[in-house]
């Protein structure tokens, strides 16, 4: 049934099993493609992909995830028991918290996302490898070094103190440099592609790094970098008012133009891939792509709705924050309709379960975010734990759980070994999902306690006693997430060191890699 909607169905049946590596084949494909849309074709990519770049980025992200959840559990402990670390300077809450936030965004999620992009790009473009795998590996190494320097700076008291832009200027510069290097790699891979039409995931993979690197550059690189550019301030505007507004404009772009797009791209890749179904609608993909970028780049100032910033900017931010629901619903319904009739895979394929769970939380975060960006509700919840719950709904519930699916699917494929233990992965899934839910509930209840108290004139210090219970719940649920991070590291590590030379292991590998046969076609562009 699904094949009826696929333009390339006739081609697919007769596809060659030989690796189409030569230039002549490419030209042939282009000729074929030029003859008419019916011959738009995918290439059965049976060759062994290079994946060196992807491996570097993904493995780094697995380690970084343990590191950033370590930061998280430290600060959660300190909120429940403030004397826990007795005033050790580099473990103090206010230094570890930016390390946690920056780490989640730039270390864990960004590295995982680039790993995912570098994994699916050759597969969707029909190439054996990226344009330059070595460049990707070198970029990964530079990026890791920059991150380590950034964390040492933040924990050592060299944070710039601008939220979400705490890394020193040199690290911001290196991050943008690494993004540009990856953009070059992706764009060049696109230019040498063998599959002519670009699948949806590739749109995002091309555009999102460009958007976010431009945003980071505008937010905290291009302005004057302060007296000591190496250790000191990342770029900031001379006028504190303008600085605040551009700070928050840029901060929200990290979510809107980087973390969200790649979540969309990854979901668009995996759901058709794992369920072996064509994507439901090309039109909905277009709406989600263009809609998202048009509305998302102007929502940042909803962080400043009661601040002394201009009213027109707040209005734009509020309206756009609600308008976000249009592309989000387009994306959501597209995936939902692709999944139609295949929900059994949600239970059988663990990678798909991670991804679909992240996708559901992502819908919730958008509903919550739209509500939160409306003035009357924002009056009630701004500055409270609600923001923290919301941020974790996006970054933990949405992007991280999705990222775990990415790791669980891709790294065994890259290692060419079945995952070490499904049981461990199941534990990981339930720990992170339930841990996150408990966290979210604690934050939301705590937020309503805060919001209600503050509006009735109770000062912050009086609310602390009532928050204590929720801070404890936060630390306990945080420890569940922390455990999940270690389980992921152990499971991936044991997968890597698994001995698969035996016949039995070979047989298992044939169909056990991430729970489905390996020779399913890659998803393709349809119109």
């Amino acid at each position: 049934m699904a094949d009826e909607t696929r333009l390339d169905a006739p081609e697919e049946q007769g596809r060659s099993a030989h690796p189409p590596t030569d230039e002549g084949r490419r030209q042939e494909l282009q000729r074929t493609y030029g003859a008419g849309p019916e011959t738009v074709t995918g290439i059965q990519t049976r060759y062994r992909h290079d994946d060196r770049t992807s491996r570097w980025w993904l493995v780094s992200s697995v380690f970084w995830f343990v590191a950033v959840t370590t930061f998280g559990i430290i600060i959660a402990t300190e909120l429940a028991e403030p004397e826990a670390f007795q005033g050790v300077s580099w473990l103090v809450f206010s230094r570890v918290r930016p390390a946690h936030v920056e780490g989640v965004i730039f270390a864990w999620l960004t590295m995982m996302y680039f790993g995912a992009i570098f994994y699916f790009s050759p597969r969707l473009l029909g190439t054996r490898a990226l344009w330059n795998e070595t460049l990707g590996v070198v970029t990964a190494i530079v990026y890791n070094v920059a991150l380590i320097y950034g964390f040492v700076a933040i924990l050592g008291g060299g944070s710039t103190g601008r939220e979400y832009a705490e890394f020193p200027w040199i690290v911001d510069l290196l991050i943008v440099g690494c993004f540009v290097s990856n953009i070059v790699n992706i764009v060049m891979t696109v230019s040498i592609r063998l599959v002519r039409p670009l699948y949806v995931s590739m749109w995002w993979a091309i555009a999102a790094p460009i958007w976010v690197s431009a945003s980071i550059f505008i937010e905290n690189v291009m302005w004057h970098p302060g007296p000591n550019p190496l250790w000191g301030m990342s770029g900031f505007l001379e006028n504190g008012l303008h600085d605040a507004m551009i700070n928050w404009w840029g901060n929200h772009n990290l979510f809107g133009l980087w973390l969200t797009p790649v979540l969309v791209a990854v979901t668009y890749y995996f759901v058709p891939r794992i369920t072996n179904t064509a994507l439901y609608s090309h039109t909905l993909s277009l709406i989600s792509f263009w809609g998202l970028v048009f509305v998302y780049a102007a929502v940042g100032d909803h962080h400043l709705l009661q601040s002394p910033s201009p009213g027109w900017l707040k209005t734009i931010a509020s309206i756009n924050s609600v308008a976000i629901l249009i592309p989000v619903f387009a994306f959501f319904s597209n995936i939902f309709l692709t999944m139609r009739g295949q929900w059994d895979r949600f239970f059988t394929s663990l990678a798909l379960r991670f991804i679909i769970t992240g996708w559901i939380f992502y819908l919730l975060v958008n509903l919550q975010g739209a509500l939160q960006a409306i003035q009357p509700f924002n009056v009630y919840v701004h500055f409270t734990y609600f923001t923290i719950g919301h941020a974790h709904l996006a970054l933990l519930g949405g992007f991280t759980i999705l990222g775990m699916g990415v790791i669980y699917y891709m790294l065994p494929h890259i290692f060419n070994k079945p995952p070490y233990s499904r049981t461990l992965a199941e534990w990981q899934y339930w720990l992170v999902t339930l841990g996150f839910l408990a966290f979210f509930i604690a934050m939301t209840i705590g937020a309503f306690v805060q919001g209600q108290s503050w509006l009735s004139g109770t000062p912050e210090v009086n609310v602390l006693n009532q928050l204590h219970l929720w801070n404890i719940m936060r630390a306990v649920s945080g420890s569940m997430i922390y455990t999940a991070a270690w389980i992921q590291l152990v499971n991936i590590g044991l997968t890597f060191f698994r001995d698969t030379r035996g016949e039995e292991a070979k047989a298992a590998r044939k169909d056990a890699i991430a729970g489905h046969p390996a020779d399913v076609a890659e998803p393709q562009a349809t119109a």
Binding site: G157, E163, E238
Partner: protein, 499 residues
């Protein structure tokens, strides 16, 4: 086979069009790399220009009347504040819904765009969370020694705080951070800060105490040394009036009042109507127990678990926290329950005593005050509960009644109707010495006359010094637009409710 039909319908047009002018409709919606690349940049640029660059181009208000630049030390403190991430729990702007017309509230005014429109406020400190209070108006709400103790370990001063310790910072960093926090809130904060310093000078002179120690000096002190200091009059000569020795004798001739200067000072910073007020609540076991509960929740940080003013915070604080365990504390000129109530409610300028008016219910404050009167008789002994017979009934000492007769303040001074109501320095002076009215004065040896006028003058001098220092430092930090110098001349405006 609708697909086939559409193909047939489109095929002739598609084939007959000039090359490049028409594509098959199924192909038209395919995305090409060029479209993604350039279209993506365009779609990003449009909202970026609106949301990020329009505000820079079209929204540059002049600095507000209340804005004041940071001094050199405060600017350094701001960097420490940023580097240590204080902003993650302490937001940096006051929202309209935060402001309360109350005496004790920490949000006296709504933040205006002009408060942030200079390079002194960059990088921004607006923040996204309030686990602790907003600090955009913090300047002058606490004295500097309180700030030092609080940075060293917040639980010294606020037992239920969850703020981390910052005792790893050096002495210099402590001073810079304190200077910054004390100057936050523009001109109004500078007036409050100046008021704190003047009040501190007067208080220390009246008590014959040394200035507060530096951070490292305070932290080196052990609890035993603190106890010795309190009991034996080591680094302080604790109040009680009677045992003020030697140095004070010289001034005794000048001192006309029947009260000891220290007592007179302590009395006059409480509103006159509270001087002999008794507790409106009945003395019951419940009230006493509730009072003790609140004392242990809020007060033991500074006043110590025994209520004797011996605590880790005491190492930092001059004047030292009050000792409640003595009989003199129970029965003295300035220890009526009304006076104590007033001090808990509104705080005492120049001392580490904070205002608890917004944190405690009024009846709870009366219960704490009631409980305090049982401490000399063992109301705070561990393992027991305060009983009614431990309660000490305060009665006005005859010298107090005589003093009140000799020094009547004819008319209650009402700042809301007086002509001087808009005079900020007088307002601040009255906030320090709540029991005084213009034209009334008394003498403190070693300090001179105490009157609202003199205090206002001292505050104004200190305010001008701070402001000029700030402007000099601001101009010295080059490479940024400087607001017109006339901004400096605009007088500070204090919220009247805050006096």
């Amino acid at each position: 086979m609708a697909e086939k039909d559409s193909k047939k319908r489109w095929e002739p047009i598609y084939r007959s069009a000039p090359p490049g002018w028409a594509t098959h409709p199924r192909k038209r919606m395919l995305m090409t790399p060029m479209l993604i690349f350039f279209g993506g940049i365009f779609a990003f640029a449009v909202p970026t220009i609106v949301a990020a660059f329009f505000q820079m181009a079209f929204f540059s208000p002049p600095v507000s009347d209340n804005w004041a630049p940071y001094g050199e030390q405060a600017a350094r403190g701001r960097e420490i504040y940023l580097a240590n991430g204080c902003v993650y729990c302490h937001s940096g702007f006051t929202r309209p819904q935060d402001v309360r017309h109350g005496l004790y509230y920490t949000y006296p005014r709504i933040s205006l765009p002009g408060d942030y429109a200079t390079s002194d406020e960059a990088p921004n400190l607006w923040g996204t969370a309030r686990i602790g209070p907003d600090l955009s108006q913090e300047g002058g709400f606490h004295p500097s020694d309180w700030q030092r103790a609080h940075f060293s370990d917040p639980r010294f001063t606020t037992p239920n705080s969850i703020m981390p310790r910052f005792n790893f910072l050096s002495d210099d960093e402590f001073e810079a951070l304190t200077a910054f926090v004390q100057q936050r809130g523009g001109k109004a904060a500078l007036v409050r800060y100046a008021g704190q310093q003047v009040a501190k000078d007067g208080m220390l002179a009246a008590m014959g105490m040394p200035a507060p120690p530096a951070k490292s000096e305070a932290e080196a002190m052990t609890l035993a040394e603190v106890a010795r200091g309190v009991k034996m009059g080591g680094f302080m000569q604790m109040n009680m009036g009677m045992d003020m020795g030697g140095g004070m004798e010289g001034g005794e001739e000048e001192h006309q009042s029947i009260l000891h200067p220290h007592d007179e000072y302590m009395l006059n910073f409480v509103d006159r109507t509270y001087w002999v007020m008794s507790n409106p609540l009945p003395v019951t076991d419940y009230n006493l127990l509730r009072g003790r509960m609140i004392f242990q929740e809020r007060c033991i940080g500074c006043h110590g678990v025994g209520g004797a003013g011996v605590s880790l915070a005491t190492r930092f604080l001059r004047p030292v926290p009050f000792d409640f365990t003595t009989q003199e504390a129970a029965q003295s000129v300035f220890t009526s329950e009304g006076s104590w109530y007033y001090k808990v409610l509104r705080g005492v300028r120049g001392t580490a005593m904070e205002n608890f008016g917004s944190r405690l219910r009024v009846d709870d404050i009366w219960r704490v005050v009631m409980f305090l009167k049982t401490i000399p008789n063992g109301g705070l002994v561990a393992g027991s509960v305060p009983t009614i017979d431990q309660y000490y009934q305060w009665t006005p000492p005859p010298e107090l009644l005589q003093y009140m007769k000799q020094n009547p303040v004819e008319k209650a001074f009402d700042f809301t109707t007086e002509d001087t109501a808009d005079e900020p320095f007088l307002l601040e002076a009255h906030r320090i010495m709540n029991g005084m009215a213009p034209g009334y004065s008394f003498h403190i040896p070693g300090f001179g006359d105490v009157s609202l006028e003199r205090f206002a003058q001292l505050i104004e001098e200190e305010y001008n010094r701070l402001l000029e220092e700030g402007w000099d430092a601001f101009i010295a930090r080059d490479g940024h637009p400087i607001p017109p110098a006339s901004q400096m001349e605009i007088p500070p405006e204090l919220s009247k409710e805050l006096r």
